[in-house]
């Protein structure tokens, strides 16, 4: 029987789409060769539009509900463990290493699932101001985040490049480069986890081809790169980001409470006390 091969597509606004440019790039692995969408500037803009509305729909859900949706992703991955292992093996990992990575990935998801309804308690607080005032530092998600995945071959690392922002209510556009087979595969389980469309968009391609637009786009509120960038790229990013005072995070923390700090806006509200 003829073997049927899956076409890998970007995951934008809850749909699987090719690049509007029609361009692809090849990822040659041990046993298989993959043709992945080469994300264009137009694709990026579409993803931003989707992320804007995704931010609203993600934030309409209660934090309790968001916890369950993120937790469901771990259930999905566990159910499809073999297919992830297969890709990781193709990328050159040993079977033990691949299974270990899935174990770690599931633990990471479980950690962030439980954080979704606790992070504000851990980062916000009342402030003991002088005088008869109630003063509280409320915590809010920053908005639309673009995150660049690290170059590691790891589902766990991939998750760590978007769950910190996603779990606190940001919508995320995540780009993977040579390891993008992992993220486009993950898109299927994301889609089955009841995440609202646009809350997470997964793209594949070459960051250097879109970094100018990413750093310039005023509707992207923060850019986080989990991949070490060269000086030339950093220069372009800072210059472009300065036109709208965009937040730039180069190699932010990938775990623990510190991983979510870049994506928080602190809003401090005062009110007098009286009779």
């Amino acid at each position: 029987m003829t073997e049927i091969k899956k076409t890998y597509k970007n995951y934008v606004d809850g749909k699987y789409v090719r690049s509007e440019s029609g361009k692809t790039y090849t990822v040659e692995l041990k046993s298989e060769s993959y043709e992945l969408p080469l994300t264009s500037k137009k694709d990026l803009r579409d993803a931003v539009t989707s992320s804007k509305s995704g931010f609203d729909s993600w934030n309409k859900l209660s934090q309790y509900n968001r916890t369950q949706i993120i937790y469901r992703l771990s259930e999905m991955i566990e159910g499809n463990r073999d297919s992830y292992v297969e890709i990781l093996l193709d990328y050159g990992l040993t079977k033990a290493a691949a299974n270990k990575d899935i174990d770690n990935a599931i633990n990471t998801i479980v950690w962030y699932a439980g954080l979704a309804d606790k992070w504000e308690q851990l980062t916000g607080n009342l402030n003991p101001v002088v005088g008869e005032y109630f003063n509280i530092s409320h915590q809010e998600p920053i908005g639309v985040v673009f995150s660049l995945n690290s170059t590691e071959i790891s589902i766990d690392k991939l998750l760590s490049s978007f769950l910190p922002a996603l779990s606190i209510g940001c919508s995320v556009i995540n780009l993977s480069e040579k390891n993008a087979v992992l993220s486009l595969k993950l898109a299927e389980d994301i889609n089955n986890s009841d995440l609202p469309s646009g809350a997470l968009n997964l793209l594949s391609g070459d960051f250097s081809k879109i970094l100018d637009d990413v750093s310039r786009h005023v509707e992207i509120n923060a850019l986080a790169s989990y991949k070490k960038l060269n000086k030339e790229n950093l220069k372009i990013i800072n210059e472009n980001a300065s036109t709208s005072v965009k937040r730039i995070f180069h190699l932010p923390s990938e775990e623990g409470l510190s991983s979510i700090l870049p994506f928080i806006e602190t809003k401090t509200v005062w009110h007098p006390k009286g009779r």
Binding site: S242, V245, G256, K267, V269
Partner: protein
């Protein structure tokens, strides 16, 4: 209306002694600048020259950064508890010499003595006290496994709250173990120079606090210096953008506290007399030279006429004049340059079609002054409704529904602060949730505290100053 006459009550300036000429404070002592260029700092209320200040050049900045690098080695070897004690001692000395600082601040910057004495200086001291107490508790502040200071921090501060902005920058930076090269604003360097004397007096280790005076060229040398690991800036959005651009390929820390055009929303169910007081304080505090000033008054349509009537009456009681007079509400505009900017924006507002009310009062014959001003009949597209005027000029817009109020309030690139006036608690919370602003005052305005984080959304900058959150601006945290 009864016109009340006040006798003058002038705070004596004999308490301050100002030198003719100042050098930079580097490596624990004042030294002769390499730069041969000086600028004169004048009193904006008299136009008298107070002193000559060096315009620090590349070599001066270089020397200061190198001193701060050596200072960082020393500072890193002191225990957190010792660092705390230095800051506590500074706080105490500031309290002791508070009157001297207040008078000097009012002379150099033009703000009323009742503000420098009752607001700026108490806040300066409390910032040092507050952050002193964090110095030996950093490990429990954010529950981090690892936290490190950046190293040498370059700090650039504005002229509106000269010493208070120094305190907001220097106290948390030193408490978290960084060392500092500070550049005060060119028009208001004197209190920072006096603060440097206190550092000498408490025996702060050499190189921990360094001060280079100058203008924008000096600031640029500091921003572009390779030895700086982090830049903290407070000032205009345009300079903030220049700095973010100048960071370029360097992987360094950056926090920006930039401009604002805050909406002060008054709902029709507000306690109107209280709201009038809050709106007056929101825009006329410190001559409106306040980045978080409530410069856009958003009035619910049905109370517009009544509110404006009350507001104009209240404005007319404001006393404009000598900053050293204890009765003065509105002091001098900080500089000729700023006065020109305010005048030009107000003229533009009139030409656009805005209706201008200015209070009737006598202005001193010398110095830089501007009458408290109120615009009504303004379209949201006018520049006076969009641009930061940074002066005693309030612009009024109207709205019909809470949704519309929020939409107008957020329709700006800025996002520093906002005000909400209503007696209905649920409406406060509903509105506060929807405003893009880092600080929201409900039924109050322009309140500050070292424990309360301050900083903006959007183009008003990033990072927070003050509170537990303020520590994060000076620490690299892994938890």
């Amino acid at each position: 209306m009864v016109k009340w006459e006040y006798s003058e009550s002038i705070e004596s300036d004999s308490i301050v002694s100002i030198q003719d000429k100042y050098g930079h404070f580097i490596d624990g002592k004042f030294s002769t600048p390499n730069s041969k260029n000086y600028l004169k700092t004048v009193s904006p209320s008299t136009e008298e020259v107070l002193a000559s200040i060096s315009i620090g050049n590349k070599k001066d900045v270089d020397k200061a950064v190198n001193a701060a690098k050596e200072g960082f080695k020393r500072w890193s070897k002191t225990t957190p508890s010792e660092r705390a004690k230095y800051l506590y001692k500074l706080a105490r000395l500031i309290q002791e010499r508070s009157r001297e600082f207040a008078v000097l601040e009012s002379m150099d910057g033009g703000k009323p003595i009742k503000e420098s004495r009752d607001f700026d200086l108490p806040q300066v001291a409390s910032n040092f006290f507050y952050f002193a107490g964090w110095a030996d508790k950093l490990d429990i502040s954010w529950g981090a496994k690892e936290m490190k200071p950046y190293g040498v921090v370059g700090q650039i501060i504005p002229w509106n709250f000269p010493l208070l902005m120094l305190a907001w920058k220097v106290a948390p930076a030193l408490a978290t173990g960084n060392t500092v090269v500070l550049k005060p604003a060119e028009t208001t360097p004197l209190t920072a120079l006096l603060f440097a004397e206190l550092c000498e007096e408490v025996g702060l280790p050499k190189g921990v606090f360094n001060l280079v005076t100058g203008d924008g060229t000096t600031g640029a040398e500091l921003v572009n210096h390779e030895g700086i690991s982090k830049i903290a800036f407070t000032g205009s959005t345009s300079v903030g953008k220049y700095i973010q651009n100048a960071v370029g390929e360097r992987d360094i820390g950056l926090t920006l506290e930039l401009g604002g055009k805050a909406a002060n929303i008054v709902y029709n169910d507000a306690a109107l007399d209280q709201a009038v007081e809050g709106v007056v304080n929101g825009i006329f505090f410190n001559q409106g030279h306040v980045c978080c000033a409530g410069s856009r008054l958003l009035l619910q349509e049905d109370i517009h006429d009544e509110f404006i009537n009350k507001l104009e009456k209240r404005m007319q009681t404001l006393r404009v004049g000598n900053p050293l007079d204890k009765n003065t509400d509105i002091g001098a505009i900080n500089s000729k340059e700023q006065l020109d900017k305010i005048t030009s924006l107000v003229n533009e507002g009139v030409n656009d079609g805005g209706e201008l009310f200015q209070i009737e009062c006598e202005l001193p014959s010398s110095g830089y002054w501007y009458r408290p001003s109120l615009f009504t009949n303004v379209q949201p597209s006018y520049n006076i409704a969009r641009e930061e005027i940074f002066g005693p000029v309030l612009t009024t817009l109207t709205f019909r529904t809470p949704e519309e109020a929020v939409e107008i309030a957020n329709n700006t690139e800025y996002g520093l602060s906002a005000g909400i006036w209503t007696e209905k608690g649920s409406k406060i919370l509903w509105t506060a949730d929807r405003l893009d602003a880092g600080v929201i005052w409900a039924n109050t305005f322009n309140k500050f505290d070292p424990s309360s984080p301050f900083g903006g959304y959007k183009e008003s900058g990033f990072g927070r100053e003050g509170g537990r959150h303020g520590l994060l601006s000076y620490l690299k945290v892994r938890s």
